[in-house]
C-alpha cells in the first residue's frame, strides 16, 4: 500500500527495501510547487521556488550532491521549510551522509509534527546501518504520528525481532494486526517471535493465520514445519516442509529443513536425498553439505562425511558445526590428530561440546 503523504510536501523517497506485499516505495509527487499553496504560506519567492524545483529534479535523477546544495539554498532562504529538510535528508541519505540525513529528518518532524514519513525514513536509515534499537524507536515514532498505518508497527516489530526482543516484537505485531486484521506478514512474524520464545502452539496458530490470508506464502509453511520440528513432531514437520516445497519447487531451504526432520526420524536415505536436492538447487549452500555429512556419520561412511564437511568449510571457513562434524568423522577414521584439530577450530568458533572433546583423553597429546 502507499504511504500517506502530506499534501504540502514534495517528496522523493528512496527505499532500499521493497517488500512483496507492502509497497513502501515512494514516487515524486509532482514536478514543482503549487503556487497557490506557496502563496498561502507566504513562500512567494520565485528564486526559492526555482531552487526547490531544481533540487527535486536533481533528487529525481539521483544527483544527490546537487540536490543537497539546492535544498540547502532553499533552507537558507526559508529555514522553516519542512519539505526542504525532508528532501535534503533524502539527498544526504543518497550520499550516505547518515548523520546529516537523520538531523534533517528530525528537523522536518520538528517543523511538521505530522510528518510520519520523515520518522519512517529515519528508521530505515538506522535499520540499514544495523542500529535496530534506534530503528525500532523511529518506527514507533512514525506509528504514533500516523496511527492508521499498519506498516510502521510492523517494521517496529521486525526491528525488535532482530534485537531478539521477542516479547516487545509481539506487542508491535499485535498493533500491526489490530490496524490490519488480514496482515499475513505480521502473523508470520509474530509466529516467528513466538517460536523463538518456544511458545510453539501460539506460533502454529499465527503461521496458520498467515497461510489463511496468503495461501501462497511458502515460507510460512516452512516456518510451520520448523515449529513442529522444534516440538519434535517430525511427521508434521515433514508434511509442512513438503507443502512449502510444493508452493516453491526451488525452495532449497525447505529441502534442507525437511532433510533434518527426516534425519531426526532415522530416515537417513530420504534425508540425504533432500540435502542433495538442496545442493542441486543451490550448490553454494554450506548447510546442506554439513547436513549430508551428518547423514554419512550415521551411515558410518566417514570418508564421505569428511568430504562433505570439506565442501561446507570451503564455502564458509567459519562454519562451527562443519568443523565439529568433521572432527567426529576423522575420529572414526582413526585420524585423531585431524579430529582434535577440527574440534579445536570448532571450539574457537564457539562450540562448547568441542571444548569437551579436546579435553578428553582422545585428544591428549593430539592437539
Amino acid at each position: 500500500m502507499m504511504i500517506k503523504i502530506k499534501a504540502l510536501l514534495i517528496l522523493i523517497t528512496f527505499s532500499g527495501f521493497v517488500s512483496a506485499q507492502t509497497d513502501t516505495s515512494k514516487t515524486l509527487q509532482g514536478g514543482g510547487v503549487d503556487q497557490h499553496i506557496l502563496d498561502s504560506l507566504g513562500l512567494v519567492n520565485p528564486e526559492l521556488q526555482k531552487k526547490y524545483n531544481e533540487g527535486v529534479r536533481a533528487l529525481t535523477s539521483q544527483n544527490f550532491m546537487e540536490a543537497s546544495q539546492r535544498f540547502t539554498e532553499v533552507i537558507l532562504m526559508n529555514p522553516s521549510y519542512a519539505a526542504a529538510y525532508y528532501n535534503r535528508g533524502m539527498a544526504y541519505k543518497g550520499l550516505a551522509m547518515n548523520d546529516k540525513a537523520v538531523a534533517d529528518f528530525n528537523r522536518a518532524i520538528e517543523l511538521d509534527p505530522a510528518n510520519a514519513e520523515a520518522a519512517y525514513m529515519k528508521a530505515k536509515l538506522f535499520e540499514e546501518s544495523g542500529d535496530f534499537e534506534q530503528a525500532a524507536n523511529a518506527y514507533k515514532q512514525a506509528g504514533e504520528i500516523d496511527k492508521t498505518n499498519e506498516t510502521y508497527p510492523y517494521f517496529q516489530g521486525v526491528a525488535l525481532f532482530q534485537m531478539e526482543k521477542y516479547d516487545e516484537a509481539i506487542i508491535a505485531f499485535d498493533e500491526a494486526i489490530r490496524r490490519k486484521s488480514d496482515y499475513a506478514y505480521a502473523y508470520n512474524d509474530r509466529g516467528s517471535s513466538k517460536m523463538m520464545l518456544e511458545n510453539y502452539d501460539g506460533a502454529i496458530a499465527d503461521y496458520n493465520s498467515a497461510i489463511k490470508y496468503d495461501q501462497y506464502m511458502h515460507f510460512a509453511y516452512n516456518n510451520l514445519g520448523s515449529v513442529y520440528r522444534n516440538k519434535e513432531d517430525y511427521t508434521n514437520a515433514e508434511k509442512y516442509y513438503t507443502e512449502a516445497i510444493k508452493r516453491k519447487p526451488d525452495y532449497y531451504i525447505a529441502y534442507n529443513n525437511r532433510g533434518t526432520a527426516r534425519f531426526a526420524q532415522g530416515k537417513y536415505a530420504d534425508a540425504l536425498s533432500d540435502f542433495s536436492k538442496a545442493i542441486q538447487i543451490n550448490p553454494d549452500y554450506a548447510f546442506a553439505y554439513n547436513n549430508q555429512a551428518s547423514v554419512y556419520i550415521k551411515q558410518e561412511k566417514y570418508q564421505e562425511a569428511v568430504t562433505a564437511c570439506d565442501k561446507a568449510i570451503a564455502l564458509n571457513g567459519e562454519y562451527t558445526e562443519a568443523y565439529f562434524n568433521r572432527g567426529i568423522a576423522k575420529e572414526m577414521l582413526k585420524d585423531l590428530v585431524g579430529a582434535c584439530a577440527d574440534w579445536q577450530d570448532a571450539f574457537i568458533l564457539g562450540s562448547e561440546n568441542a571444548e569437551q572433546y579436546i579435553n578428553s583423553p582422545a585428544c591428549a597429546g593430539n592437539n
Binding site: V158, N188, D189, S192, F219, S226, S294, E331, S360, P361
Partner: protein, 689 residues
C-alpha cells in the same frame, strides 16, 4: 506349493542318505589291508594321547586315520572332541559330519553342535540343538551336561539381547614389538600406559614345557612417544627358566608386580617390587590371601591400601570368587580376606579382577551374570560403598567364547586384553581396546525465513546436546623429582592427603634412578601432595579434582631445595576463606609439616609472606596478604613455635609469579584462573639457621 516343498525335503533326505557311516571294520577294507592297519594304529595312538591330555597330538594321529577313511562317524566325533579341548573353532566340521554319518554316535553330540552354533553367535540354532540335547539326555551321566545345556540356552538368550548393545570400541593388535607367533597374553599396565608387562610362551628365553608349548615368561615393553618399544624379558629373579611365570597384576604406578606361580601345586600370588629399576625376588603373599585354594588374580587399588584377588577357597559362592584384603598400617601386613559379596560373585566363576585407579570401577570376568558364553567381561561401580549390578561390556569385546582379562588405563579410553583373533601374529595376541565412549552426535544446521519482509533467512540457534564426560573421573599426576641445583633425580617420599578429611591417603616414593613418580587422583577430592626428603625443604602441590570432571593428566616436576638460608617455598596447601584471612581446616596438614620442619631445625628463623593476585584494589590486596601471613604465624606460635623465630609480611600483588601480561595472552579461561591461583599463595623463606 506344498508338493514342491515335499519334493525338496525328499531331495534333502536323499542327499543326506548318500553319506553313509563307514566304521573302521576289517571286512570293509579287504582291498586295503595295510592302509587299514596303519589307520587303526593311528587311532590307537590318538586314543593314547587323549588319555595323556595331549589333544593336539591326538588330533594329528586321528586326522591321518581320517584321511584314510573320512566317513567314520565315530572318528569324526573323536576329532571334534579333541578340538573342544584346544581349538574350538575347528570342531564344527567334524561334529556336523559325525552327526550326519551317525546320529547315534553319542547323545552329547547335540550339545556340542549347539555349542558350535553358539560360538558363531547363531543363537537360534544353538538353542534348538541345546533343547534337542536336553530333551534326549536321559542317562544319569548326562545330567551335568544337561544342566550346562540349560545354562547355555540362557547364555544364548543373553547374547540375543546383547547383540543390540554393541560397545563402541576399536580392537587393534598392539603390534609386532609385543606380539609374536607364540602365545602372548595377560597384559598388565601402569595406569599411564608407560609400562606393559605380559606373559609369553616364546622360545627366546625358555624351553619346552611338558604340555602346551614353551614355559611362560614375563616380558616388559615401555611406551615412548605413544609407541610400544620392543618387548624384552623382565629377567631374573621374576623369570625362572623351566618354570611357568605369569603376570596377574601391576600397581597403577607400575612399581608393584603380582605374578602367578603354582610351584606349591595350587597356584598362588607372589609380589615383586621395582626397587630403583630392579625387580625384587617374587615373594609369596600372606596366608590371608594365599590359601590351599587357587589364587590366580590380583589387583591393587590406587592408594596401595587394598588388594582385590580371586580364590576358589571354600566358603565362597561357587567357583572362584572375588575377595579383598586391606593393608594394616600398624601390623604392616595384609588383613583377612573379605568376599565382595553376591552382587559381583555368582555360583559360577569370577576371575581376572581389575580395580581401576579411579577407585570406583571394577572390571572382571564371569561365567555367571548375563554372560553370552563362557567368561564375559563385566564392570561394576562402587556407589556409596556398594557395588552396582555388573554390566556386560557387550560385543565385540565379549564373544560367545571366553573373554577373560581386561586392564584399563587411567584415562579410561584405552584398555588391553589378549585373545585369539583372526589377522593376529599367531596364537593369542595382545590387543588394545579403544573405548570410544558415548556416540558423538553430529550437529545439523537449519535456517528459516522467519521474517516475511526480509529475504535473508535466519539461522536457527544450535542447542548443543549435553555430553557425558568421556574417560574416567580421575587425574594422574606424574613428574620427576630432582635436586634443585644439581638436577639429579631424587628418591623422595610423596604423601597424598585428603585435605578435607585431613587424612593421609597414600604414600609413594619416586624412582631413585629416574626421579619419576606417578600418583592417581580419583575424582571428588581436594588433594594435598607433599614431597619430602631428608635434608631438603618439602614441596607441596594442591589439586582439586571435582566429581564428573572427566580425565586429566598433570605433569609436575619438583625440584627440591636444600635446607639453606634464603630458600623460599610456596605453601600450596594453605587455604583461606574467600577474601578473608581465616585459615581453613584443610590447611592443617601443611602447617603441621611446617611445624615439623621448624622443630627439626630449632635455630631456623623464617619469614611467612602473603601474596594475592592482581584482581581487586592494591590496598585491599596488601592488607589481605598481610593479615593472611599473620594468621599463619599466629597458628605456628599457638602450636609451640617461638615467636622470635617468625616474621611475617604482606606483599599484596607486588610479587606475582605470573604477570598480568602473560595472563592476558592466555586463551583459555581455565588457564587464566589457574594463573591467578598460582599468584595467590603463602610462602616461607629461611632467614637464618
Amino acid at each position: 506349493m506344498k508338493k514342491y516343498i515335499l519334493l525338496f525335503a525328499l531331495a534333502l533326505i536323499g542327499s543326506s542318505s548318500f553319506l553313509q557311516d563307514v566304521p573302521f571294520e576289517k571286512d570293509l577294507f579287504k582291498e586295503r589291508k595295510d592302509e587299514f592297519k596303519l589307520a587303526v594304529e593311528n587311532i590307537e595312538a590318538g586314543d593314547a594321547n587323549v588319555y595323556a591330555y595331549n589333544y593336539p597330538l591326538a588330533v594329528t594321529y586321528y586326522l591321518k586315520a581320517n584321511a584314510f577313511n573320512p566317513n567314520s562317524g565315530d572318528l569324526n566325533y573323536k576329532i571334534g572332541l579333541c578340538y573342544v579341548q584346544f581349538d574350538k573353532y575347528q570342531m564344527k566340521t567334524y561334529f556336523e559330519k559325525a552327526y550326519q554319518l551317525k546320529p547315534t554316535v553319542s547323545q552329547d553330540i547335540l550339545f556340542y553342535l549347539g555349542w558350535c552354533y553358539h560360538l558363531e553367535s547363531n543363537w537360534t540354532k544353538a538353542i534348538e540343538y541345546y533343547n534337542m540335547f536336553a530333551g534326549k539326555a536321559t542317562a544319569p551321566e548326562l545330567q551335568p551336561l544337561k544342566t550346562e545345556a540349560f545354562k547355555k540356552i540362557q547364555e544364548c538368550k543373553n547374547g540375543q539381547l546383547l547383540e543390540g548393545k554393541k560397545a563402541r570400541v576399536w580392537i587393534d593388535n598392539v603390534g609386532k614389538e609385543i606380539n609374536t607367533d607364540y602365545p602372548d597374553y595377560a597384559p598388565v599396565i601402569s595406569t599411564d600406559e608407560a609400562i606393559m608387562i605380559f606373559t609369553t610362551r616364546r622360545p627366546d628365553t625358555e624351553e619346552m614345557a611338558p604340555i602346551g608349548g614353551y614355559f611362560e615368561d614375563l616380558y616388559i615393553s615401555r611406551r615412548v612417544d605413544g609407541v610400544w618399544t620392543k618387548a624384552v624379558p623382565i629377567g631374573k629373579p621374576v623369570n625362572v627358566k623351566g618354570q611357568h611365570d605369569a603376570t596377574i597384576g601391576l600397581s597403577p604406578d607400575g612399581h608393584t608386580l603380582y605374578v602367578y606361580n603354582d610351584d606349591r601345586g595350587n597356584g598362588d600370588i607372589y609380589e615383586s617390587i621395582d626397587e630403583d629399576g630392579a625387580w625384587t625376588q617374587p615373594k609369596l603373599m600372606e596366608k590371608t590371601i594365599n590359601t590351599d585354594g587357587h589364587e590366580p588374580d590380583a589387583s591393587l587399588t590406587f592408594d596401595g591400601k587394598r588388594l582385590y584377588f580371586t580364590s576358589d577357597k571354600p566358603g565362597g559362592f561357587g567357583g572362584h570368587d572375588i575377595y579383598y584384603s586391606d593393608w594394616d598400617d600398624e601390623k604392616q601386613k595384609w588383613g583377612d580376606a573379605v568376599n565382595v559379596g553376591n552382587v559381583l560373585n555368582t555360583p559360577y566363576e569370577e576371575r581376572s579382577v581389575f580395580i581401576h585407579p579411579d577407585g570406583e570401577t571394577m572390571y572382571f570376568a564371569s561365567k555367571g551374570h548375563n554372560t553370552m558364553g563362557g567368561y564375559d567381561l563385566f564392570f561394576s561401580k562402587l556407589v556409596d560403598g556398594k557395588w552396582t549390578a555388573p554390566v556386560n561390556l557387550g560385543p565385540p569385546l565379549n564373544t560367545p567364547d571366553d573373554d577373560v582379562q581386561l586392564v584399563v588405563a587411567g584415562n579410561g579410553r584405552y584398555g588391553y586384553c589378549s585373545s585369539y583373533r583372526q589377522g593376529g601374529y599367531g596364537e593369542k595376541d595382545i590387543y588394545v581396546i579403544t573405548f570410544l565412549g558415548p556416540e558423538k552426535p553430529p550437529v545439523l544446521s537449519n535456517e528459516d525465513n522467519l521474517i516475511a519482509s526480509i529475504a535473508k533467512p535466519i539461522k536457527e540457534k544450535i542447542t548443543e546436546p549435553t555430553l557425558v564426560s568421556e574417560g574416567s573421573n580421575m587425574a594422574i599426576l606424574t613428574g620427576i623429582i630432582r635436586d634443585e641445583k644439581t638436577k639429579q633425580p631424587l628418591k623422595a617420599q610423596i604423601v597424598l592427603i585428603d585435605n578435607e578429611a585431613n587424612k593421609v591417603i597414600a604414600e609413594f616414593t619416586s624412582d631413585a634412578v629416574s626421579g619419576k613418580y606417578l600418583v592417581s587422583l580419583p575424582g571428588g577430592k581436594n588433594y594435598g601432595i607433599a614431597v619430602r626428603k631428608d635434608g631438603y625443604l618439602f614441596h607441596s602441590e594442591n589439586f582439586v579434582i571435582p566429581n564428573e570432571s572427566g580425565f586429566r593428566q598433570y605433569n609436575k616436576d619438583a625440584d627440591l631445595k636444600k635446607v639453606e638460608v634464603g630458600q623460599t617455598i610456596v605453601l600450596r596447601n594453605i587455604f583461606f576463606d574467600l577474601d578473608k584471612y581465616t585459615l581453613r581446616p584443610e590447611s592443617v596438614n601443611e602447617l603441621e609439616r611446617l611445624i615439623k620442619l621448624l622443630n627439626e631445625n630449632p635455630t631456623m628463623k623464617i619469614e611467612i609472606s602473603g601474596h594475592t593476585d592482581t584482581r581487586g584494589s592494591a590496598e585491599h590486596n596488601q592488607e589481605l596478604s598481610q593479615n593472611r601471613a599473620k594468621a599463619v604465624v599466629d597458628y605456628l606460635i599457638a602450636h609451640g613455635i617461638d615467636a622470635s623465630r617468625l616474621t611475617y609480611a604482606g606483599y599484596g600483588e607486588t610479587k606475582t609469579l605470573i604477570s598480568d601480561e602473560a595472563i592476558a595472552k592466555m586463551t583459555s579461561s581455565g588457564d587464566k584462573e589457574e594463573a591467578h591461583q598460582q599468584n595467590r599463595r603463602t610462602e616461607f623463606k629461611i632467614l637464618s639457621m
